[in-house]
Amino acid sequence: MDVLTSVLFYALAALALIGGLGVAVLPTGSPRALSFLLLAAGAAGTYAVLDAGFVAALALLVLVACGLLLAPLPARETSEPRGGPWQQVGALAAAGLFALLAYAAYRGGLFEGTYASGDFGIFNAAAMGSLLLGRDALATEAAGALLLLALVGGGARWAGWAARTRRPR
């Protein structure tokens, strides 16, 4: 990779990390929505720099959808209970996990493989389609079933809410 692409990758990675930290610590509402937007832009950009255009488009869709769903929750009137020492332990565990993963990345015996990105193109939908619908069709069906179940659950909940809040004529 040339220098410009590398700088772009690290800038987008910093954007994604800032967005992730914002999702973790900022209050609900607009700050959290903006953090999700930063995360989506940064993550999708890093995928695109790594020649994974299809994954980038999907990540943009998924992370923006998650942001729209999760940014306003819980409502502001629902106060979060104050955290105790366990919150600090959780934060330390996250730091320990990062140290562990970073050590594994640095010291792991990683090999350099070959990747012919020119064979697929940046938006490699055909290669993804042949893998998702051909070799791993069962896994694709399982992921589709999970999404269908989630959508049915969400739809049933919305229908119940709509029935409860409907005004009598």
């Binding site: 990540a59 979060e80 992921a143």
Partner: protein
Amino acid sequence: MSVTLVGVLFVSAGLVATGVLAAAWRRNALAALAGVPVAAAGAALASVGVARFGSSVREPAAGQEAAIFVLLVALGLVVLGIAARPPRGAPERPAETPAVRARGRRRR
């Protein structure tokens, strides 16, 4: 300065740890759900990085496929978690931590 697999894995480790931090920092279970897509984005970045820098000749795009699965499962978990939250009138219960359990035992 060049992007290598180690650099990509560093960034992905940071994203996964940030997702875990989000889940640990928020005491409300619904708010803690926001850590799932962040951690999934990190895991997907690791998969894409492996596909880009360390893939085999046999299935060069398999890592990208794994990233797609991780992202789809994260979206499904988020939608399921939101669908399973208590109704608006019901009081939202805090996460069941050992401290909360001990407080409940003391009250009893």
